[in-house]
């Protein structure tokens, strides 16, 4: 199978900010991403969990985005404008993808 170099960007961000992040990714020309639900975690304000919660204030989501390496900078700049004052983490790993023509 032919593999191609790519970046795997994982953005863990407040659920309230998901739509703004999606808009930012679109602005950065990123059209493919996947959102995974998050059930809990821990950060500077201690541990939290979604169990039994109704409001969206204390939830997060994980957005995974596979991109060609040359698009990374644009993505990070736009994503950071959204994240800036907000809690959340961004990590970027090297990866290899199939079907690179789609990215």
């Amino acid at each position: 199978m032919e593999m191609h170099d790519a970046k795997r960007v994982e953005i863990i961000i407040e659920a309230m900010m998901e739509k703004r992040l999606a808009t930012a990714l679109e602005r950065a020309g990123v059209t493919g991403y996947t959102v995974l639900p998050v059930s809990g975690g821990s950060g500077r304000w201690g541990p939290w969990s979604r169990e039994g919660q109704v409001g969206r204030a204390t939830g997060m989501v994980a957005v995974v985005c596979l991109i060609r390496p040359d698009r990374l900078d644009g993505l990070l700049k736009e994503a950071f404008a959204v994240l800036d004052r907000h809690i959340g983490v961004v990590s970027v790993s090297d990866t290899q993808i199939l079907r690179a023509e789609r990215f």
Partner: protein, 325 residues
Amino acid sequence: MSEIIALAGQNLISPMILFFALGMAAALARSDLSFPEAVAKGMSLYLLFAIGFKGGVGVAAHGVDLGLVLALLAGIVLSAGLPFVAFGLLRVMTRLSVTDAAAVAAHYGSISIVTFVAASALLQAQGVAFEGYMVAVAAAMEAPAILAALWIIARAGGRPDDSPGLWREILLNGSIVLLVGAFAIGWITGEDGQAEIAAFIEAPFKGVLCLFLLDMGLVAGRGLRSARGALAPAVLAFGVTMPVVGAVLGLGAGLVIGLSPGGVALLMVLSASASYIAVPAAMRVALPEANPAVSLTLALGVTFPFNLTLGIPLYLAVASRAAGG
């Protein structure tokens, strides 16, 4: 006075309160009892649907008059004004930062719909009538407090994020839309609509409310447990002072506009209650630097149980006296 105590005592051993207490106790004892997020959200959708619809049917039955307009205005004024009172109290009573104080103030200007639901259930059990449009007043009181808090923070030199998207999010947030939408549909379809879905929204209502309060007790207890230490005694004191202050202002407003005793009691309850769904979410977007644990724990872990157990019977008793019920 003894009458108030008797009412409070009776209230304290109602299934609703006992299930809330069970939840709190279970969470504090670190039981793993919990509701899936989807079930909790499903119950809250049901409660909003039912209470909104019933309110609308009430308006259809009794007609609408100037009272509705006055009550909406009173609600908006209270919601916009209470944050200033709360902010002042917080700066005097506690050491919270300006940002945190403004965030907390927004919660107390806005309302908790479950507190409203629990109060209406008690009124019904006591046979006290109230205006069906009070549910619309509840909806109208959700948002103005947020505006007020953002104004406070902006004046204090903060820079809240008030992009246009935020306003749509606040005004069209799910609970307001469902509450107002169900209210409108209840109003439009009236008795006929009621006849169609009464069996769904009436008979099981109290039982669902008990389960939902159990869940809220679990969430509140978990919040208290993980926030222990984070809440200074002065902040806790605010959590029981502010509802009383709010209730007094609600009482005044209710008397001025001439609501029935039941309506006055509900306006007191709305003013006394603190938001734990709509405002926390808005604050995360607009004031991300505010510590959400402070306001949420205060609203859900202190003020909500205070209102549920002591506040509601107290407000009802006072309203009955004052409005000559």
